[in-house]
Subunit: 310 residues, 2 copies
């Protein structure tokens, strides 16, 4: 994390994983690849391209290895995959990903519903995966994203101490970074500032991404609050696709287009070309006909005379 407003932000696009995982229809592999190509063409430098889970559980992710292989053809980007367990991590590492991300929920109820393990059992899973990574692909980064860090539809309030302790445990277990996720859209800017400040105090440079949802309209305000606290990596989803199938009421990742527009308008560099980013909606919509796609900046268009700093 960096408190300098000059530091560019890294937009970590989660649509091809988080987004697709939440829609009923399955996107064809070729469509996923076209979408990823369009994201890279727009300047997106980190993409969560797949989830390594049993195909019986999530048929949308059956082509995970193939999608990773396609994404790896692009140079200069970080290809990331979600892995809920050791088997998934092994497959993802075999496929050649640059970064693994693990969902570690601070709410026991959500953790059990999502991965059938308690938070503490997930920390042990982080440790096992970190060891596996060290043994076979030591250059690969491991991220532990703390889910339901701002509240849970099943459990209600989640204690801030639990969230910070869990993030610290993940780092101690071998994760390189740990960020905070508002899985169900409960976060508010005051809470976001408080928790990211505590996170940085606790784990310093290991503090990772803000993963915000727009369920109650506060997505961008929460991202701004996190940015104020020095967060420089933000998860978001093109067209606002996504949510969590195992957290009732979780809907709407922050829209990448609006988030990038906010930062670029503020003069904060993202490395992403907005017009090309808007154009990346076409392959998404072509691959998921009938699926609602959100985003106010692409609908309203850029302001008159708007010029991105380069």
């Amino acid at each position: 994390m960096s408190l300098s407003p000059e530091t560019p932000v890294l937009i970590s696009e989660v649509g091809p994983r988080d987004g697709l995982q939440s829609v009923k229809s399955t996107m064809a592999t070729a469509d996923k690849c076209r979408w990823i190509d369009a994201l890279v063409a727009a300047g997106v430098r980190e993409i969560e391209v797949a989830s390594f889970v049993p195909p019986a559980l999530l048929p949308q992710m059956a082509d995970a290895a193939e999608v990773v292989r396609h994404a790896l053809r692009h140079s200069g980007i970080t290809v990331m995959a979600l892995v809920p367990n050791r088997r998934g991590a092994e497959n993802a590492l075999k496929a050649g990903v640059h970064k693994l991300t693990m969902p570690v929920s601070a709410s026991t109820a959500h953790s059990l519903a999502n991965v059938r393990k308690t938070p503490q059992q997930m920390v042990e899973e982080v440790r096992a995966i970190a060891q596996l990574r060290d043994a076979i692909a030591p250059g690969v980064k491991l991220e532990a994203g703390i889910s339901t860090a701002f509240g849970c539809t099943l459990q209600g309030e989640v204690a801030e101490d639990d969230v910070i302790r869990l993030a610290a445990s993940c780092i101690e277990a071998g994760a390189d970074e740990s960020g905070l996720s508002d899985t169900v859209g409960y976060a508010n800017p005051a809470q976001v500032r408080r928790l990211f400040r505590r996170l940085r105090a606790e784990i310093g440079v290991h503090a990772g991404a803000a993963h915000m949802h727009n369920t109650r309209g506060l997505g961008l305000a929460n991202c701004l609050a996190a940015w104020d606290e020095g967060v420089r990596t933000f998860d978001s989803s093109l067209g606002g696709l996504g949510g969590c199938p195992y957290a009732p009421g979780a809907s709407g990742n922050v829209v990448t287009e609006d988030l990038v527009f906010m930062f670029e308008a503020m003069g904060v560099r993202t490395g992403i070309d907005l017009e090309r980013l808007f154009a990346a909606r076409a392959p998404l919509m072509a691959g998921l006909p009938g699926e609602p796609v959100y985003g106010m900046a692409p609908e309203a268009g850029l302001p008159k005379g708007f010029a991105q700093a380069r």
Copy 2:
């Protein structure tokens, strides 16, 4: 303006004026009154209830005096009306409003399109109206809202110096407060912080409301940015109704429901009961059948275990 986070915020509901002025259909007077009653029942303490303009120009506002008289039955609220000129101000003062608000645009192109006067001519109108007010109703407050303060669809960029100078001129001409309006949804949080900081440096306690639009999704982030700078009055519209009929591409006032939810979730008092505020959507929708009504917090519902501080 106040930098203390303990100071409650004042939500100035502009739907019955700004909102209705932008829709094609005309709401019946009885429906407007029911809507205003529901807003007051929810705890809204300032309402822009009408615009005093020639009925031929805006037939939706032909019942302005009647609506003002109805609103005045409620005690403890500030009944506000928009007045573009002396004649309007005279009629509004006769009707008994507590507060006049004048649109003074920083963009000459928008000012001419909106009120057929240059910004400088509008400052003279402010002066004339302040004198009129002093003569016949000295207790009435006069607000000058600087329109297109963050950019203009007609002119493009609006110089920040022009905005601040114009606000200062309005105060010098006799306005009690001057706020900044993002009439067309061009503002970003960095700009909002910069301009409100300059505004306060220039006119001190006379610095007024933030009037933000959600055209490109940044409405709440911009309100948060203004709040950080000490702004404690926010214009918004129930259901996000509104825009400006004379500024092409201006759509979507900030949604009152989502704005109040943001502040209340942060622990910032608004004096408004969220459940009752959500209930105030019913008379709005009944009075404007078929009109789109926005708001993510009312659609998603309040978080589990959410309790408003009282």
